[in-house]
Symmetry: C2
Subunit: 191 residues, 2 copies
DNA sequence: GTCTATACACAGATAGAC
DNA sequence: GTCTATCTGTGTATAGAC
């Protein structure tokens, strides 16, 4: 047994390909070519394409959650500041959200594959709800809109920004959408 | 030559399938099964899957543009009222945008296939820009944000709402996002 | 114009050697 | 654990009859 098996390389290649081409278009052959492994290795570690994608997805979701958590843990920022920073993050519109870009693939109607996606989105929505709730609490926001609606819009501006970027082939679309929301939320603040 | 050939049936079936399963997962066999035509008919009218999808897409785009145009032509509504009505439209979150849901498929990197999608999105973005511009003009909105940013956010709230809905399997997500934006835009109005 | 029968490539998975 | 060789099903397209 090697110290670092091909397993990690395979998962890594799969993660990249899920972002680049999606699930249905990702063939085992592509994964093997990129990871430098043979078919045997893939089917030694995973029962099939689905289980491989599952492992890759769970990896990505953990990374992205940790990324958000880092922002949430920033003691320097107010709740509103965290929302603002989240929206202000630099994003590659033409790449798409690593997880959200898979939402329309038929394979994700399957409960098992959808689980990590659903889990990730619920986490982000939930955390945004908490932040918006804190803004209401400390009178930054008026309490005239359900917190989960605002949270939903925040996430939608990012996901929709990615879609717009891809659709018109303009990477700037996403920052235009999130930027506009930053302004609107600032205006929404009860000064 | 029949008065109503199988061509329309084939395009119609393809349109449905593009929404339901997407482009890559839509096989000629599925199109034929649903349309009741034989393989020969399909390849008689279209040079291949791509040209068929193109025809179906152009059909859909025209329909959806006409749908929006109807709202734009409503003499009863102010520019702001039109934006508000656009956001308030009833949408099936679990179905997804007929065109936007294809944005992440690799086949749409191809210029020919992307054209109708790009065209549709540009149209909607452009029309929203005009409406927002009118709102600035008549002092409904402050002029402190570029009109194309607000327009981008409006479209993103819809597209992102669809993504959220699919991701968490909750059809209400989209109306939560667009609903929140309606409130924010109302607050943004210079009263 | 519409059909059935057929060809070809490749995605997905298995067998078994090393 | 890792590899190569192989098998099967199906997506995509063509040929050619009716």
């Amino acid at each position: 047994m090697q110290r670092r098996s091909k397993k990690a390389a395979i998962i890594n290649a799969a993660s990249q390909l899920l972002v680049e081409v999606g699930y249905e278009s990702m063939s085992p052959a592509m994964v093997l070519a990129r990871s430098g492994a043979g078919k045997g290795s893939l089917y030694h570690f995973f029962s099939g394409k689905k289980q491989l994608a599952l492992a890759a997805l769970q990896n990505m979701a953990e990374e992205m959650k940790a990324d958000l958590q880092e922002l949430l843990d920033d003691e320097q920022l107010t709740a509103f500041g965290k929302i603002d920073q989240y929206l202000a993050r630099k994003r590659d519109g033409m790449a798409g959200c690593r997880i959200g870009r898979l939402a329309n693939e038929g394979a994700f109607l399957d409960g098992e594959l959808r689980a990590p996606m659903q889990d990730y989105f619920r986490f982000v929505l939930q955390q945004m709800q908490v932040l918006v709730g804190q803004c209401v609490e400390d009178d930054t926001f008026a309490a005239d809109t359900p917190v989960e609606h605002i949270a939903s819009l925040i996430v939608a501006s990012v996901q929709g920004g990615y879609v717009n970027s891809k659709a018109v082939a303009d990477g700037e679309q996403i920052s235009m959408a999130t930027g506009a929301l930053r302004v609107l939320l600032k205006t929404y603040c009860v000064k």
